[in-house]
Symmetry: C2
Subunit: 118 residues, 2 copies
């Protein structure tokens, strides 16, 4: 690939979340070091508190959400930049009237998602 | 950092371009593997044909441009995803009435930009 419209890329349900879909915009089959994904969470949807082994570098495209990172809760909105270190518990709760959409870059390689009791 | 508004992050002029500014949204001082940057090109601005040693994974936030990648020229617009392999000559020419803005993820580590005669 060199140029693709993101609307043409299939979405898949994120089973660990609710009302949450994911697109792999540039996967590990293309980029040698990291993958670019887009998440789309319907208002009221999101993901419960969990950890990943890998870090997340994120950019919010649309909407708003409450995002917990470690012990802090943040209200994030379009244009915000979010960094979540590997191993840090985090959750998403989409709020407002429109979908909460964000890009999320992760390094290639194995990852494991673990839900955190809360 | 965990959450920052991108508007609060300083911009710097990209000397190899014209009418082009750059923000380091998440730098190598924060992310262990890759950096997230935003480029903003005024209409009529852009960057001449050049190579980088590293690959680019990009997402267009706003506006439109002609982007040459290797031997092909593409018209790209908001929502498009662009992959430029390391070492591939590429250029940007912002078009239309609004700034051309895109995110660009690169791996941490040394890079060298070289202009290409054309």
């Amino acid at each position: 690939m060199s140029v693709r419209a993101s609307e043409s890329i299939p979405t898949e349900e994120v089973k660990a979340g609710s009302g949450t879909r994911r697109q792999v915009l540039i996967g590990s089959d293309v980029g040698p070091n990291f993958a670019l994904r887009r998440f789309i969470m319907e208002p009221g949807g999101g993901m419960p508190l969990h950890t990943n082994e890998v870090e997340h570098e994120q950019y919010v495209l649309r909407g708003q959400a409450r995002v917990r990172i470690g012990g802090e809760e943040h209200r994030v909105k379009a244009g915000d930049v979010v960094y979540i270190p590997g191993g840090t518990p985090h959750s998403y709760n989409a709020e407002g009237d429109e979908p909460f959409e964000f890009l999320c870059v992760v390094p290639n390689g194995p990852d494991r998602i673990e839900l955190v009791d809360c």
